[in-house]
């Protein structure tokens, strides 16, 4: 099993009455709530946390893309990946990802990811999300009705730009290029592994399987609710005659570890509640624009066959969150057991741990990472390896250069 740390880089200083006083944490959050000096602290501490996870033996570190969002402050994940590439040595850098439909021309993504692959010595995972509705439709103005078609076309162009040895012309419905010639090229051949973060749209299941990409479900609702979606993915895989290799899937889970259940509740509880009750205060009108979901997915949701990532009741308590599986919390032994149960039930090979979340301060996040790395991850690492191979993990160069000392 591969265990990675996922970071959202949240702005930890929203007022306590944020959800009462403001419309939404995403899209139209007032800029006056942002203090750039605190932004300086947040970015540097967040990167420290990811680098620490790498040093402590996590297999991968994950960055991601959000726009006009206070709980996810990486409009450009590639910038973060670039600095992480210089400051880490062996860890996989998982970019989850670039919302490829947004970039014009989409070869910008092919270029930047090729740069990152060269810079890191072949350690990157290329994540291609369709992107959330709030990010793509509302913050970036892309019409929902054409987003998915743009996405499919962009994927086709990027993969060809990485793999076709010749200069070629591309005559797409959205992008026309006389000369496609991505320079540099990625180290990994034929191209970096592609992971597709999904949000419960049913067509993404079949598409990722057809493309032989990893399907990742990134929600904050945890493994109990996430089971509906992962079951849908594996059911689709079975229907398509694909063996249930757990490495074909990734899953995001919020995890906090401490000396006892009561200590964990006391130290982490308020920060996690802050995340769910303040930071997930997303105006419902921004979470799902009409046409963002296909008619098939809307129908599947009405029939209870899939779910969406942002469904949440208001004012959840720590106990609710633990009971619902939104957070896996407890002693190292208990967390190990719960994570093993989760990965086996959902059949997951790539687990992404959210170890910092909400208002959790840097020191506590570092302690959480340390405990996960030393007392949880070692017990889980061998899972799956007797039977399954990971075909979706980066294949770096054997000999890699390190940055020279200054």
């Amino acid at each position: 099993m591969k265990i990675c740390m996922f970071h959202l880089m949240p702005y930890r200083w929203l007022p306590q009455d944020f959800d009462k006083q403001h419309h939404s944490v995403w899209v139209d959050i007032p800029s006056r709530l942002f203090d750039p000096a605190l932004g300086h602290v947040m970015y540097n501490q967040s990167l420290d946390e990811l680098e620490y996870a790498a040093a402590m033996g996590y297999d991968g570190i994950c960055v991601n893309e959000h726009h006009s969002n206070a709980y996810g402050m990486m409009p450009s994940p590639n910038l973060m990946a670039a600095t992480l590439a210089r400051r880490t040595r062996d860890v996989a850098i998982i970019i989850l990802g670039n919302s490829i439909a947004l970039y014009n021309p989409p070869i910008r993504v092919a270029e930047e990811m090729a740069m990152l692959d060269c810079l890191s010595g072949g350690r990157i995972v290329a994540g291609f999300p369709v992107g959330s509705s709030a990010d793509t439709n509302f913050a970036y103005g892309m019409a929902p009705a054409i987003l998915r078609d743009r996405y499919y076309e962009a994927e086709e162009l990027i993969i060809r730009a990485w793999t076709d040895p010749e200069v070629f012309s591309f005559d797409g419905r959205f992008t026309q290029l006389r000369y496609v010639n991505v320079w540099p090229r990625p180290i990994q051949k034929p191209h970096p592994p592609v992971w597709v973060p999904g949000g419960g749209s049913i067509e993404t299941w079949g598409w990722t399987i057809k493309k032989k990409y990893v399907y990742c479900y990134l929600s904050y609702s945890g493994y109990k609710k996430g089971k509906t979606v992962m079951d849908g993915f594996w059911r689709t895989a079975a229907e398509m005659g694909i063996e249930p290799n757990p490495y074909h899937a990734g899953f995001l889970q919020l995890v906090v570890v401490g000396g006892s259940d009561s200590e964990v509740a006391e130290r982490y509880g308020p920060h996690i509640e802050y995340f769910f009750n303040k930071m997930l205060h997303v105006y419902p009108g921004f979470s799902d624009a009409p046409g963002y979901r296909t008619v098939e997915t809307v129908k599947a949701r009405l029939l209870g066959l899939t779910t969406r990532p942002f469904d949440r009741p208001p004012d959840m308590s720590w106990k609710d969150l633990v009971d619902q599986g939104a957070v896996i919390a407890g002693t190292p032994t208990s967390v190990t057991e719960q994570l093993e149960h989760m990965t086996r039930t959902l059949n997951i090979g790539h687990v992404m741990l959210l170890n910092q979340l909400g208002s959790m301060p840097h020191d506590l996040a570092m302690e959480n990472i340390r405990l996960c790395a030393t007392e949880v991850i070692p017990n889980l690492r061998g899972l799956w390896d007797e039977r399954w191979q990971d075909h979706w993990w980066p294949q770096p160069l054997a000999e890699r250069r390190q940055p020279a000392a200054v």
Binding site: M142, A143, P144, G285, F286, P290, G291, L302
Partner: protein, 272 residues
């Protein structure tokens, strides 16, 4: 009563639902996002005109709108639609999104439009008077923008949802399709450059607006009148965006008077 027919547009490329009824002069009705035909307003017009009301591509009943990638695709589609319907010339009435299409059609093929009626049309944008973000609006907010009086018969009818579970699923999917399709033309702002083409619209035109339109403020009516060569504005009180449904008799009366049908003499357009 209107009846449904099927029309093949662009040599079989698109199979389109069309509601048709009434005798007299041909009147093409282009609907908006929330008044898909058959609707009471078309029925009322069909008492004095031959109403032809196609369902837009992408709305329930007509072919998908997948080919409508660029706005010009939709404009050419409407030229093809006129041909397929056999409408050499006609009276053109459009509402909301359909009003935007109607204005565009009148601009690209003015010789085919004898008279134009725009009922709370979209198509213009002024940041100082933002059009409601209908795609982010929650159901209650949207209803209040569409209907001035939530207890009016039209508002009650629009808010009605089927009790049967299967019908409810169909109802939700139908609404979801119509909203999704509208995003092709109205996202992120409902402006595709109509103001640069509207000077070509010189035929007599009537612009109708609900005084309490919460989707697109009635002041946009003045902009349309200013851009068109021979138009006048009638603002109807006690009505939201769906003015023609909420104040059906009033709007139908003003439209038929403007067209000079149903016994009324044509109202001369204001000289400019």
């Amino acid at each position: 009563m209107m009846h449904e027919t099927r029309v093949s547009v662009r040599n079989g490329a698109y199979d389109v639902a069309v509601f048709e009824g009434g005798e007299g002069e041909p009147l093409l009705y282009l609907h908006g996002g929330w008044d898909q035909p058959p609707n009471a307003f078309c029925e009322e017009l069909a008492r004095s005109c031959h109403v032809v009301a196609p369902v837009h591509l992408g709305f329930e009943g007509s072919a998908p709108a997948a080919d409508m990638l660029e706005y010009s695709d939709a404009l050419y589609y409407h030229l093809d639609l006129l041909d397929a319907l056999g409408l050499g010339t006609c009276t053109l009435v459009g509402h909301s999104l359909g009003g935007m299409f109607a204005a565009e059609l009148a601009a690209i093929a003015p010789e085919r439009v004898r008279r134009l009626v725009l009922i709370s049309p979209l198509g213009l944008w002024d940041s100082a008077r933002p059009v409601l973000d209908v795609f982010a609006a929650q159901p209650k907010e949207l209803s209040a923008a569409l209907y001035h009086d939530a207890t009016s018969p039209a508002a009650v009818e629009a808010a009605r949802t089927p009790e049967d579970e299967d019908e409810l699923v169909t109802h939700i999917l139908t609404r979801s399709k119509s909203m999704a399709t509208q995003t092709r033309y109205l996202w992120p702002l409902p402006d595709r450059g109509l103001s640069r083409r509207a000077h070509r619209i010189r035929m007599p035109a009537l612009v109708v607006w609900g005084a309490e339109d919460g989707v697109c403020p009635a002041s946009y009516g003045d902009d349309f009148v200013r851009l068109l060569g021979d138009a006048h504005l009638e603002v109807v009180s006690g009505a939201g965006h769906e003015v023609h449904l909420e104040q059906l008799d009033q709007v139908a009366g003003r439209v038929t008077a403007f067209l000079g049908v149903g016994g009324a003499a044509p109202v001369p357009a204001e000289p400019r």
